[in-house]
């Protein structure tokens, strides 16, 4: 009964949204978000609404926000005056967001913090127009969350990462599409993540698995990158400087930075001009490091059964690593690049590379000034126990 009443109410808002009385509609929406009871379903009607404030849901359990479908229900933040996010979900559990579009916020489009049980389904989060450095940072941004499922979502135009999961645990990202972002999909300081069956195309970097220092959640790991399409991620890097992704070279397919226990398997990685797959330490970012509890090395990385492009390509000249690869290899750079920086306290970094189609390789020996680069795969012919697969 209340469901019917709610729907009727929302339909009224929808009608009102088509008029000029947007501030009133916005206020009604925010009021509904504040007064929602645990277990409520809030229907977001078809149509476009212009919002000037962050729309914020806090402290709820089991609430569903359901639109009429991506591109049918559109929440536009073009004229935003308050708040650093479009939609914000905090201190909540078992929240489902599905079937709507978020557009053109000043900061992030969707930020979810401290949510245990978050499902994002059939959402589109985008900055419209050409990718610009004035676009917001993250399109879909769960941070400090547990049990996150991101399914069939689209992220476009983020000046940092399209889909960015930070400092979280137990994460699914599947059947999503990310394009025209600096980073398509980024998993950062996150444990137990499955990234599979996604398409990351035309970003600066396709899929990034990063561990960064100086954060409350230190050590990510156990990240599976499986059966994704990672295609022509050669976009100019338009991230503001200072951010770690501003250092990602255009033409990066999949990059593992300072993370342990990562499996990269059965991906199709085509036409990424500089580093189709890169395994690097935090030192390559050339940022001073002071965090004593942080391990800056990539280790236990297993790259196998991926398919890379054959043929010629020129690495980017816009980045030190790209220029170096071009100097050494010309138009035949390796498909898997390893910086070779290992933990001096352990004997072996356990980097295993096996059965990759066109899986040419180079250890660029960054610690030795990029001298004595080797391309021999034999030291890396090993395998690691597979990470569990999603069912």
């Amino acid at each position: 009964m209340s469901y019917v009443r709610n729907s009727a109410l929302w339909c009224f808002f929808c009608w009102a949204a088509s008029g000029v009385a947007q501030p009133d509609v916005e206020k009604q929406w925010q009021t509904r978000f504040i007064l929602a009871e645990d277990g409520d379903t809030l229907e977001l009607p078809a149509g476009r609404i212009e919002l000037t404030n962050t729309l914020w849901l806090d402290g709820k359990r089991g609430v569903v926000l359901r639109g009429a479908g991506a591109d049918r229900t559109v929440l536009s933040f073009r004229g935003q005056k308050q708040g650093a996010e479009g939609l914000k979900i905090t201190n909540a559990s078992d929240i489902v967001l599905e079937g709507f579009t978020l557009e053109n916020s000043r900061g992030d489009l969707l930020k979810a913090q401290q949510v245990n049980g978050l499902t994002l389904r059939n959402l589109k989060a985008q900055w419209t127009g050409k990718p610009r450095k004035t676009n917001g940072s993250y399109a879909l941004y769960p941070v400090q969350c547990q049990r996150v499922r991101i399914e069939r979502c689209t992220a476009i135009g983020a000046s940092d990462a399209g889909i960015y999961v930070g400092q979280s645990d137990s994460v699914w990202v599947t059947e999503c599409v990310a394009y025209h972002n600096v980073a398509g999909i980024e998993i950062e300081n996150t444990t137990n993540a499955w990234v599979w069956n996604n398409t990351a195309r035309d970003n600066t970097g396709g899929i990034l698995v990063f561990d960064l220092p100086d954060l409350p959640k230190k050590q990510g790991g156990r990240v599976l990158v499986w059966k994704n399409q990672v295609l022509h991620n050669n976009h100019k890097n338009f991230a503001p400087k200072g951010n770690i992704v501003a250092k990602v070279p255009p033409g990066t397919g999949i990059m593992v930075l300072a993370t342990r226990h990562v499996e990269i398997a059965e991906n199709t990685v085509l036409d990424n001009r500089t580093a189709p797959t890169a395994i690097v330490s935090y030192y390559l970012a050339q940022t001073p490091l002071q965090d004593k509890d942080y391990s800056p090395y990539a280790a236990d990385v297993h790259v196998h059964d991926n398919t890379y492009s054959a043929g010629k390509r020129r690495p980017t000249w816009r980045h030190r690593l790209g220029f170096l690869l071009w100097l050494k290899f010309g138009r035949r750079p390796p498909n898997i690049v390893y910086d070779g920086i290992t933990d001096p306290n352990t004997s072996h970094a356990r980097i295993c590379l096996r059965q990759n189609t066109n899986g040419s390789f180079a250890n660029v020996k960054a610690a030795q000034g990029f001298k004595n680069i080797t391309t021999d795969l034999a030291p890396y012919d090993c395998s690691l126990p597979p990470l569990p697969r999603p069912k």
Binding site: K27, T31, G136, S137, D214, P216, P240, G242
Partner: protein
């Protein structure tokens, strides 16, 4: 029910209507959950916090004013703060974090603008009154927006905007589309571990050992408003400096400013714990404080700068960039500020400039 009484003719009608509404009130009272929290009042006047004309803010019995050592900047709004304690109840002292409050306590903050800052006698406009209400299960935030006549203030759940005009200390006319926060935005600052908490009612903000009437906390203790203090506890408090007092050391002023304006979020238990940048006055780790700390998820908030604080180089410090900027995706604090705080920016600029590299 009302419809039936409407049919009644004659002079008794108003009386009957009054009886009917009384009956309705009694019914409401009977059916409201006895164990649940009381519903918030629709009007500020209903609480009886003040006596006389409401806009005079004359506290009733059991309500008393307080000030803080280092206030939060809120678009140049001035604030009149009060605490209302239940009869006979006392606050409990804590060395760290907000004091303990018994259920039924209320902390009030009235936001107002003097019509002319140079001439306070020309009156003021009270914009909103924010309440933090202590219930048995925790704190609740409410805000009341004052009417144009300044006779009362109405509960506002979803936030609103109010156009404010005033003349500032330099004689300049200022206008502002003042933003009254919605109830979630209250928690955007007033949060520790995801729970709503007070901020300013804590030892380092309230302790003033040498007021003309002696130490404020000791006075409260003597008046039966505060329990749990002793000479050792008071001696252990490091009060925040009054950052507007140029006679105090620059470092103490700057750290007090950062504590009051940033550390409610930028704290290991606050909403900005994700950033790893912690700006509380007790912070001793230079990296945590932002010195040579690269950003994590600042996005374009970094302003193409490399570090939160580049010692000696304010124009290369992200912290200052975000204080100066007004874009909602860049500015800091995220909430409660639309104008840059020129005096605060100048203070932090001087402080960063003299930090040794």
């Amino acid at each position: 029910m009302i419809a039936r009484f409407r049919l009644c003719p004659g002079p008794n009608r108003p009386l009957l209507a009054a009886l009917a509404s009384m009956a309705a009130l009694l019914l409401l009272a009977a059916f409201s959950r006895p164990d649940g929290p009381p519903r918030p009042a629709q009007r500020l006047s209903e609480y009886g916090f003040f006596i006389g004309p409401l806009a005079d803010l004359q506290p009733a019995e059991g309500v008393f004013p307080y000030t803080v050592n280092a206030p939060l900047f809120s678009d140049y709004a001035e604030k009149a703060r009060f605490i209302a304690l239940p009869k006979g109840a006392r606050m409990g002292f804590r060395a760290e974090g907000p004091f303990d409050f018994p259920a039924g306590s209320v902390i009030l903050k009235n936001f107002f603008y003097l019509n002319d800052v140079r001439k306070p006698e020309q009156g003021r406009r009270i914009v909103e009154t924010r309440l933090l209400v202590r219930e048995a299960g925790g704190w609740k935030a409410l805000t009341y927006v004052w009417n144009a006549d300044q006779t009362d203030a109405l509960l506002e759940v979803a936030g609103t905007e109010v156009l404010i005009r005033w003349t500032d200390a330099t004689g300049k006319h200022r206008t502002l589309q003042y933003h009254v926060p919605n109830l979630n935005q209250c928690k955007g600052c007033h949060a520790a571990d995801g729970q709503l908490v007070p901020i300013g009612v804590c030892a380092e903000q309230l302790h003033r050992p040498d007021t003309p009437h002696g130490s404020l906390l000791e006075r409260w203790s003597a008046e039966g408003r505060l329990k749990g203090i002793n000479a050792a506890a008071l001696a252990a408090i490091t009060p925040l400096a009054d950052y507007e007092n140029p006679g105090l050391p620059l470092n103490a002023r700057a750290r007090a400013y950062l504590h009051a304006n940033c550390a409610h979020c930028h704290h290991p238990r606050g909403p900005a714990s994700t950033s790893g940048l912690f700006l509380d006055a007790a912070q001793t780790d230079p990296m945590r404080l932002g010195i040579y700390k690269p950003p994590v998820a600042a996005g374009r908030g970094s302003g193409n700068r490399k570090y939160s604080i580049a010692p000696g180089k304010p124009h290369e410090s992200i912290l200052l960039f975000r204080m100066e900027h007004n874009d909602p995706g860049i500015r800091m604090p995220e909430l409660g500020r639309q104008m840059p705080h020129r005096e605060g920016i100048e203070l932090i600029r001087q402080w960063i400039r003299q930090l040794p590299p």
